[in-house]
Symmetry: C2
Subunit: 186 residues, 2 copies
DNA sequence: TTGCGACTATGACGATTGGTCTATAAGAAG
DNA sequence: CTTCTTATAGACCAATCGTCATAGTCGCAA
Protein backbone atom coordinates (compact mmCIF):
# COMPACT_ATOMS: atom_id res chain seq x y z
CA UNK A 1 0.00 0.00 0.00
CA UNK A 2 1.61 3.21 -1.16
CA UNK A 3 1.31 5.49 1.82
CA UNK A 4 -2.20 5.10 3.06
CA UNK A 5 -3.96 5.14 -0.29
CA UNK A 6 -2.78 8.49 -1.50
CA UNK A 7 -4.63 8.17 -4.78
CA UNK A 8 -7.84 7.41 -3.01
CA UNK A 9 -7.68 10.68 -1.16
CA UNK A 10 -6.72 12.61 -4.26
CA UNK A 11 -9.63 11.14 -6.16
CA UNK A 12 -12.12 12.16 -3.51
CA UNK A 13 -10.78 15.67 -3.19
CA UNK A 14 -10.68 16.27 -6.91
CA UNK A 15 -14.16 14.82 -7.33
CA UNK A 16 -15.47 17.04 -4.57
CA UNK A 17 -14.08 20.14 -6.21
CA UNK A 18 -15.26 19.29 -9.71
CA UNK A 19 -18.72 18.10 -8.69
CA UNK A 20 -19.11 21.29 -6.74
CA UNK A 21 -18.14 23.50 -9.66
CA UNK A 22 -19.58 21.63 -12.60
CA UNK A 23 -22.12 19.23 -11.21
CA UNK A 24 -22.13 15.47 -10.95
CA UNK A 25 -23.29 14.28 -14.34
CA UNK A 26 -21.40 16.96 -16.25
CA UNK A 27 -18.11 15.86 -14.78
CA UNK A 28 -16.52 12.91 -16.51
CA UNK A 29 -14.37 10.37 -14.75
CA UNK A 30 -11.73 11.20 -17.30
CA UNK A 31 -11.40 14.74 -16.00
CA UNK A 32 -11.33 13.60 -12.40
CA UNK A 33 -8.58 11.15 -13.22
CA UNK A 34 -6.58 13.67 -15.20
CA UNK A 35 -6.74 16.42 -12.58
CA UNK A 36 -6.16 14.13 -9.64
CA UNK A 37 -3.25 12.39 -11.27
CA UNK A 38 -4.64 9.03 -10.23
CA UNK A 39 -4.64 6.19 -12.74
CA UNK A 40 -7.84 4.90 -14.17
CA UNK A 41 -7.59 1.48 -12.64
CA UNK A 42 -7.31 2.90 -9.15
CA UNK A 43 -10.75 4.35 -9.36
CA UNK A 44 -12.48 1.02 -9.63
CA UNK A 45 -10.05 -0.49 -7.18
CA UNK A 46 -10.86 2.01 -4.47
CA UNK A 47 -14.46 2.54 -5.51
CA UNK A 48 -15.93 -0.71 -6.82
CA UNK A 49 -19.26 1.04 -6.94
CA UNK A 50 -17.86 3.33 -9.63
CA UNK A 51 -18.80 6.94 -10.07
CA UNK A 52 -21.66 6.84 -7.63
CA UNK A 53 -19.56 5.51 -4.79
CA UNK A 54 -16.98 8.19 -5.50
CA UNK A 55 -19.80 10.70 -5.48
CA UNK A 56 -20.93 9.56 -2.05
CA UNK A 57 -17.40 9.82 -0.73
CA UNK A 58 -17.15 13.32 -2.15
CA UNK A 59 -20.42 14.33 -0.52
CA UNK A 60 -19.26 12.97 2.78
CA UNK A 61 -15.96 14.81 2.65
CA UNK A 62 -17.70 18.02 1.65
CA UNK A 63 -20.18 17.50 4.45
CA UNK A 64 -17.35 17.17 6.93
CA UNK A 65 -15.71 20.37 5.73
CA UNK A 66 -18.90 22.34 6.15
CA UNK A 67 -19.53 20.70 9.49
CA UNK A 68 -16.09 21.74 10.67
CA UNK A 69 -16.77 25.30 9.59
CA UNK A 70 -20.14 25.34 11.36
CA UNK A 71 -18.55 24.06 14.55
CA UNK A 72 -15.96 26.78 14.33
CA UNK A 73 -18.67 29.39 14.08
CA UNK A 74 -20.53 27.77 16.95
CA UNK A 75 -17.43 28.08 19.10
CA UNK A 76 -17.40 31.82 18.49
CA UNK A 77 -21.12 32.32 19.04
CA UNK A 78 -22.43 29.35 21.00
CA UNK A 79 -25.66 30.93 22.13
CA UNK A 80 -26.32 33.79 19.71
CA UNK A 81 -28.25 32.60 16.66
CA UNK A 82 -28.20 36.00 15.01
CA UNK A 83 -24.43 36.33 15.18
CA UNK A 84 -24.02 32.69 14.27
CA UNK A 85 -26.00 33.02 11.08
CA UNK A 86 -24.28 36.27 10.18
CA UNK A 87 -20.84 34.68 10.36
CA UNK A 88 -22.07 31.54 8.64
CA UNK A 89 -23.39 33.68 5.79
CA UNK A 90 -20.26 35.77 5.58
CA UNK A 91 -18.16 32.65 5.33
CA UNK A 92 -20.23 31.17 2.54
CA UNK A 93 -20.35 34.49 0.75
CA UNK A 94 -16.58 34.67 0.96
CA UNK A 95 -16.11 31.24 -0.56
CA UNK A 96 -18.58 32.07 -3.25
CA UNK A 97 -16.92 35.32 -4.24
CA UNK A 98 -13.39 33.89 -4.12
CA UNK A 99 -14.30 31.21 -6.59
CA UNK A 100 -15.98 33.57 -9.01
CA UNK A 101 -19.38 32.23 -7.98
CA UNK A 102 -18.43 28.72 -8.98
CA UNK A 103 -18.16 27.02 -5.62
CA UNK A 104 -21.61 27.04 -4.16
CA UNK A 105 -22.84 24.46 -1.74
CA UNK A 106 -20.65 21.44 -2.33
CA UNK A 107 -23.46 18.99 -1.90
CA UNK A 108 -26.55 20.72 -3.30
CA UNK A 109 -25.86 20.19 -6.99
CA UNK A 110 -24.74 16.60 -6.65
CA UNK A 111 -27.63 15.70 -4.39
CA UNK A 112 -30.22 17.27 -6.67
CA UNK A 113 -28.85 15.30 -9.58
CA UNK A 114 -28.36 11.94 -7.95
CA UNK A 115 -31.01 11.64 -5.27
CA UNK A 116 -33.85 10.83 -7.66
CA UNK A 117 -32.01 7.78 -8.94
CA UNK A 118 -30.16 6.55 -5.90
CA UNK A 119 -31.46 5.56 -2.47
CA UNK A 120 -27.90 5.22 -1.18
CA UNK A 121 -27.13 8.79 -2.15
CA UNK A 122 -30.34 9.94 -0.50
CA UNK A 123 -29.28 8.23 2.69
CA UNK A 124 -25.84 9.80 2.57
CA UNK A 125 -27.34 13.20 1.89
CA UNK A 126 -29.65 12.90 4.83
CA UNK A 127 -26.87 12.02 7.19
CA UNK A 128 -24.80 14.98 6.06
CA UNK A 129 -27.67 17.42 6.33
CA UNK A 130 -28.66 16.07 9.72
CA UNK A 131 -25.21 16.74 11.08
CA UNK A 132 -25.38 20.35 9.91
CA UNK A 133 -28.82 20.92 11.33
CA UNK A 134 -27.70 19.51 14.63
CA UNK A 135 -25.04 22.18 15.04
CA UNK A 136 -27.32 25.02 14.04
CA UNK A 137 -30.09 23.78 16.31
CA UNK A 138 -27.70 23.59 19.22
CA UNK A 139 -27.13 27.31 18.99
CA UNK A 140 -30.86 27.93 19.19
CA UNK A 141 -31.17 25.61 22.16
CA UNK A 142 -28.31 27.39 23.90
CA UNK A 143 -30.19 30.62 23.32
CA UNK A 144 -33.19 29.25 25.15
CA UNK A 145 -35.34 27.87 22.36
CA UNK A 146 -37.08 24.60 23.12
CA UNK A 147 -35.32 21.63 21.46
CA UNK A 148 -38.19 20.74 19.23
CA UNK A 149 -38.60 24.26 17.89
CA UNK A 150 -34.85 24.69 17.69
CA UNK A 151 -34.64 21.87 15.22
CA UNK A 152 -37.25 23.46 13.00
CA UNK A 153 -35.35 26.72 13.19
CA UNK A 154 -32.17 24.92 12.26
CA UNK A 155 -33.75 23.49 9.17
CA UNK A 156 -35.14 26.85 8.24
CA UNK A 157 -31.76 28.51 8.52
CA UNK A 158 -30.21 25.80 6.40
CA UNK A 159 -32.95 26.03 3.79
CA UNK A 160 -32.56 29.78 3.53
CA UNK A 161 -28.82 29.50 3.14
CA UNK A 162 -29.05 26.79 0.50
CA UNK A 163 -31.55 28.80 -1.46
CA UNK A 164 -29.43 31.91 -1.12
CA UNK A 165 -26.43 30.04 -2.47
CA UNK A 166 -28.45 29.03 -5.48
CA UNK A 167 -29.61 32.58 -6.10
CA UNK A 168 -26.11 33.93 -5.55
CA UNK A 169 -24.82 31.69 -8.27
CA UNK A 170 -27.42 32.76 -10.77
CA UNK A 171 -27.12 36.40 -9.85
CA UNK A 172 -23.36 36.28 -9.58
CA UNK A 173 -23.62 38.28 -6.39
CA UNK A 174 -23.21 37.65 -2.69
CA UNK A 175 -26.16 39.86 -2.00
CA UNK A 176 -28.74 37.08 -1.55
CA UNK A 177 -26.52 35.34 0.98
CA UNK A 178 -25.85 38.45 3.03
CA UNK A 179 -29.52 39.37 2.95
CA UNK A 180 -30.52 36.04 4.35
CA UNK A 181 -27.89 36.38 7.04
CA UNK A 182 -29.58 39.54 8.22
CA UNK A 183 -33.03 38.00 8.43
CA UNK A 184 -32.89 35.77 11.42
CA UNK A 185 -35.24 37.04 13.99
CA UNK A 186 -35.50 36.23 17.67
CA UNK B 1 -45.54 25.83 -40.84
CA UNK B 2 -47.25 22.57 -40.05
CA UNK B 3 -49.69 23.23 -37.27
CA UNK B 4 -47.80 25.83 -35.33
CA UNK B 5 -44.70 23.75 -34.74
CA UNK B 6 -46.34 21.07 -32.67
CA UNK B 7 -43.14 19.13 -32.30
CA UNK B 8 -41.33 22.17 -31.02
CA UNK B 9 -43.77 22.52 -28.19
CA UNK B 10 -43.65 18.83 -27.36
CA UNK B 11 -39.87 18.94 -27.20
CA UNK B 12 -39.87 21.83 -24.77
CA UNK B 13 -42.50 20.32 -22.52
CA UNK B 14 -40.83 16.94 -22.39
CA UNK B 15 -37.45 18.52 -21.79
CA UNK B 16 -38.88 20.61 -18.99
CA UNK B 17 -40.30 17.56 -17.26
CA UNK B 18 -37.20 15.42 -17.65
CA UNK B 19 -34.74 18.13 -16.69
CA UNK B 20 -36.81 18.78 -13.64
CA UNK B 21 -36.88 15.15 -12.57
CA UNK B 22 -33.46 13.95 -13.63
CA UNK B 23 -31.35 17.01 -14.14
CA UNK B 24 -29.93 18.57 -17.26
CA UNK B 25 -26.76 16.63 -17.91
CA UNK B 26 -28.24 13.31 -16.87
CA UNK B 27 -30.98 13.58 -19.44
CA UNK B 28 -30.04 12.50 -22.92
CA UNK B 29 -31.52 13.99 -26.05
CA UNK B 30 -32.43 10.47 -27.04
CA UNK B 31 -34.80 10.15 -24.11
CA UNK B 32 -36.32 13.55 -24.80
CA UNK B 33 -36.87 12.61 -28.42
CA UNK B 34 -38.36 9.23 -27.52
CA UNK B 35 -40.77 10.52 -24.89
CA UNK B 36 -41.84 13.57 -26.82
CA UNK B 37 -42.49 11.60 -29.96
CA UNK B 38 -40.71 14.25 -32.00
CA UNK B 39 -38.43 13.05 -34.76
CA UNK B 40 -34.71 13.26 -34.27
CA UNK B 41 -34.03 15.78 -36.99
CA UNK B 42 -36.53 18.23 -35.57
CA UNK B 43 -34.41 19.05 -32.59
CA UNK B 44 -31.67 20.83 -34.46
CA UNK B 45 -34.16 22.32 -36.82
CA UNK B 46 -36.09 24.05 -34.05
CA UNK B 47 -33.10 24.53 -31.77
CA UNK B 48 -29.98 25.21 -33.82
CA UNK B 49 -28.20 25.91 -30.57
CA UNK B 50 -28.64 22.27 -29.62
CA UNK B 51 -29.24 20.98 -26.14
CA UNK B 52 -28.46 24.25 -24.45
CA UNK B 53 -30.98 26.21 -26.45
CA UNK B 54 -33.58 23.60 -25.66
CA UNK B 55 -32.57 23.90 -22.04
CA UNK B 56 -33.14 27.63 -22.08
CA UNK B 57 -36.54 27.18 -23.66
CA UNK B 58 -37.41 24.65 -20.97
CA UNK B 59 -36.31 27.02 -18.23
CA UNK B 60 -38.40 29.78 -19.71
CA UNK B 61 -41.48 27.64 -19.96
CA UNK B 62 -41.01 26.39 -16.43
CA UNK B 63 -40.50 29.95 -15.28
CA UNK B 64 -43.78 30.96 -16.88
CA UNK B 65 -45.65 28.14 -15.18
CA UNK B 66 -44.37 29.11 -11.77
CA UNK B 67 -45.05 32.76 -12.52
CA UNK B 68 -48.61 31.94 -13.43
CA UNK B 69 -49.01 30.05 -10.16
CA UNK B 70 -47.55 32.92 -8.16
CA UNK B 71 -49.90 35.38 -9.80
CA UNK B 72 -52.80 33.13 -8.95
CA UNK B 73 -51.77 33.14 -5.31
CA UNK B 74 -51.30 36.89 -5.43
CA UNK B 75 -54.84 37.28 -6.67
CA UNK B 76 -56.11 35.44 -3.60
CA UNK B 77 -53.89 37.26 -1.13
CA UNK B 78 -52.77 40.53 -2.74
CA UNK B 79 -51.64 42.23 0.45
CA UNK B 80 -51.06 39.47 2.98
CA UNK B 81 -47.51 38.14 2.78
CA UNK B 82 -48.08 35.51 5.45
CA UNK B 83 -51.06 34.00 3.70
CA UNK B 84 -49.35 34.35 0.35
CA UNK B 85 -46.31 32.39 1.43
CA UNK B 86 -48.44 29.77 3.11
CA UNK B 87 -50.39 29.07 -0.05
CA UNK B 88 -47.23 29.25 -2.14
CA UNK B 89 -45.64 26.64 0.09
CA UNK B 90 -48.68 24.42 0.14
CA UNK B 91 -48.77 24.45 -3.63
CA UNK B 92 -45.12 23.51 -3.99
CA UNK B 93 -45.46 20.87 -1.29
CA UNK B 94 -48.41 19.42 -3.16
CA UNK B 95 -46.49 19.18 -6.42
CA UNK B 96 -43.57 17.65 -4.62
CA UNK B 97 -45.62 14.99 -2.89
CA UNK B 98 -47.66 14.13 -5.98
CA UNK B 99 -44.53 13.37 -7.94
CA UNK B 100 -42.99 11.23 -5.24
CA UNK B 101 -40.51 13.99 -4.47
CA UNK B 102 -39.21 13.99 -7.99
CA UNK B 103 -40.52 17.30 -9.26
CA UNK B 104 -38.79 19.96 -7.28
CA UNK B 105 -38.11 23.40 -8.56
CA UNK B 106 -38.15 23.08 -12.32
CA UNK B 107 -35.30 25.47 -12.81
CA UNK B 108 -33.01 24.96 -9.81
CA UNK B 109 -31.30 21.79 -10.95
CA UNK B 110 -30.82 22.89 -14.52
CA UNK B 111 -29.54 26.30 -13.51
CA UNK B 112 -27.06 24.92 -11.00
CA UNK B 113 -25.69 22.61 -13.64
CA UNK B 114 -25.52 24.95 -16.57
CA UNK B 115 -24.90 28.41 -15.16
CA UNK B 116 -21.20 27.87 -14.50
CA UNK B 117 -20.56 27.14 -18.15
CA UNK B 118 -23.06 29.34 -19.92
CA UNK B 119 -23.57 33.09 -19.75
CA UNK B 120 -26.71 32.81 -21.84
CA UNK B 121 -28.23 30.42 -19.37
CA UNK B 122 -27.27 32.71 -16.53
CA UNK B 123 -29.05 35.55 -18.25
CA UNK B 124 -32.15 33.46 -18.81
CA UNK B 125 -32.10 32.30 -15.22
CA UNK B 126 -31.87 35.84 -13.96
CA UNK B 127 -34.83 36.96 -16.02
CA UNK B 128 -36.95 34.11 -14.75
CA UNK B 129 -36.01 34.66 -11.14
CA UNK B 130 -36.57 38.40 -11.43
CA UNK B 131 -40.09 37.86 -12.63
CA UNK B 132 -40.86 35.67 -9.61
CA UNK B 133 -39.34 38.08 -7.15
CA UNK B 134 -41.36 40.88 -8.65
CA UNK B 135 -44.63 39.18 -7.83
CA UNK B 136 -43.62 38.27 -4.30
CA UNK B 137 -42.31 41.76 -3.65
CA UNK B 138 -45.55 43.27 -4.86
CA UNK B 139 -47.39 41.51 -2.06
CA UNK B 140 -45.05 43.02 0.50
CA UNK B 141 -45.46 46.45 -1.02
CA UNK B 142 -49.22 46.08 -0.93
CA UNK B 143 -48.87 45.23 2.75
CA UNK B 144 -47.11 48.51 3.38
CA UNK B 145 -43.45 47.56 3.15
CA UNK B 146 -41.24 50.10 1.42
CA UNK B 147 -40.39 49.02 -2.17
CA UNK B 148 -36.70 48.67 -1.54
CA UNK B 149 -37.15 46.47 1.50
CA UNK B 150 -39.94 44.58 -0.16
CA UNK B 151 -37.59 43.43 -2.85
CA UNK B 152 -35.14 42.08 -0.30
CA UNK B 153 -38.00 40.31 1.41
CA UNK B 154 -39.08 38.85 -1.90
CA UNK B 155 -35.64 37.42 -2.51
CA UNK B 156 -35.53 36.02 0.99
CA UNK B 157 -38.84 34.27 0.55
CA UNK B 158 -37.69 32.81 -2.73
CA UNK B 159 -34.38 31.69 -1.28
CA UNK B 160 -36.10 29.98 1.63
CA UNK B 161 -38.49 28.21 -0.67
CA UNK B 162 -35.78 27.03 -3.04
CA UNK B 163 -33.72 25.73 -0.18
CA UNK B 164 -36.75 24.04 1.30
CA UNK B 165 -37.43 22.32 -2.00
CA UNK B 166 -33.90 20.98 -2.01
CA UNK B 167 -34.20 19.69 1.54
CA UNK B 168 -37.61 18.22 0.81
CA UNK B 169 -36.14 16.20 -1.98
CA UNK B 170 -33.33 14.82 0.12
CA UNK B 171 -35.60 14.16 3.08
CA UNK B 172 -38.43 12.85 0.95
CA UNK B 173 -40.79 14.91 3.03
CA UNK B 174 -42.83 18.06 2.60
CA UNK B 175 -41.98 19.09 6.12
CA UNK B 176 -39.18 21.53 5.22
CA UNK B 177 -41.45 23.34 2.78
CA UNK B 178 -44.33 23.66 5.18
CA UNK B 179 -42.00 24.79 7.95
CA UNK B 180 -40.64 27.57 5.81
CA UNK B 181 -44.13 28.59 4.90
CA UNK B 182 -44.88 29.16 8.56
CA UNK B 183 -41.84 31.29 9.18
CA UNK B 184 -42.62 34.53 7.47
CA UNK B 185 -42.77 37.24 9.99
CA UNK B 186 -44.29 40.67 9.85
C1' DT C 1 19.42 -15.79 -2.07
C1' DT C 2 15.62 -17.58 -4.47
C1' DG C 3 10.95 -18.75 -5.29
C1' DC C 4 6.24 -18.48 -4.21
C1' DG C 5 1.83 -16.62 -3.25
C1' DA C 6 -1.29 -13.02 -1.82
C1' DC C 7 -2.49 -8.51 -1.92
C1' DT C 8 -2.25 -4.02 -4.14
C1' DA C 9 -2.53 -1.48 -8.08
C1' DT C 10 -2.99 -0.38 -13.00
C1' DG C 11 -3.46 0.64 -18.27
C1' DA C 12 -5.63 -1.17 -22.38
C1' DC C 13 -9.93 -2.42 -24.22
C1' DG C 14 -15.03 -2.42 -25.47
C1' DA C 15 -19.83 -1.77 -25.68
C1' DT C 16 -22.77 1.99 -25.49
C1' DT C 17 -24.50 6.46 -25.56
C1' DG C 18 -23.48 11.38 -25.94
C1' DG C 19 -24.58 15.61 -28.86
C1' DT C 20 -24.01 17.36 -33.55
C1' DC C 21 -24.26 17.95 -38.55
C1' DT C 22 -25.46 17.13 -43.38
C1' DA C 23 -27.87 15.45 -47.30
C1' DT C 24 -32.31 14.65 -48.66
C1' DA C 25 -37.47 13.91 -48.50
C1' DA C 26 -42.06 16.01 -48.20
C1' DG C 27 -45.12 19.70 -49.05
C1' DA C 28 -46.74 24.15 -50.65
C1' DA C 29 -46.57 27.82 -54.18
C1' DG C 30 -45.72 29.57 -58.79
C1' DC D 1 -42.53 20.69 -63.79
C1' DT D 2 -39.69 23.72 -61.08
C1' DT D 3 -38.51 26.26 -56.80
C1' DC D 4 -38.48 27.42 -52.22
C1' DT D 5 -39.33 26.44 -47.43
C1' DT D 6 -40.24 23.12 -43.93
C1' DA D 7 -39.00 19.08 -41.87
C1' DT D 8 -36.61 14.78 -41.16
C1' DA D 9 -33.56 10.33 -40.91
C1' DG D 10 -29.38 8.64 -40.53
C1' DA D 11 -24.44 8.85 -40.28
C1' DC D 12 -20.79 10.85 -37.46
C1' DC D 13 -17.02 10.78 -34.02
C1' DA D 14 -15.92 11.76 -29.52
C1' DA D 15 -16.67 10.75 -24.91
C1' DT D 16 -19.17 8.00 -21.60
C1' DC D 17 -18.60 4.43 -17.73
C1' DG D 18 -17.24 0.00 -16.59
C1' DT D 19 -14.38 -4.56 -16.87
C1' DC D 20 -10.55 -7.39 -17.25
C1' DA D 21 -6.18 -9.49 -17.56
C1' DT D 22 -1.94 -8.40 -15.96
C1' DA D 23 1.96 -5.89 -13.64
C1' DG D 24 4.10 -4.51 -9.37
C1' DT D 25 5.32 -5.31 -4.42
C1' DC D 26 5.59 -7.16 -0.17
C1' DG D 27 6.31 -10.97 3.46
C1' DC D 28 7.81 -15.44 4.27
C1' DA D 29 9.40 -20.14 3.74
C1' DA D 30 12.77 -23.21 1.61
Amino acid sequence: MARAAKHRRQLIETAMRLFREQGYASTGLQQILAESGAPKGSLYYYFPGGKEELGRAAIELAGDKILEMLRGVEKRHPADPIAFVRVYGKTMAGWMAESGFQSGCPVATTLLETVPASPEMTETGNRVVDAWVEVISRVFVAAGVRPREARTRGEQVLASMEGALLLARVRRSTRPILDVAKTIWS
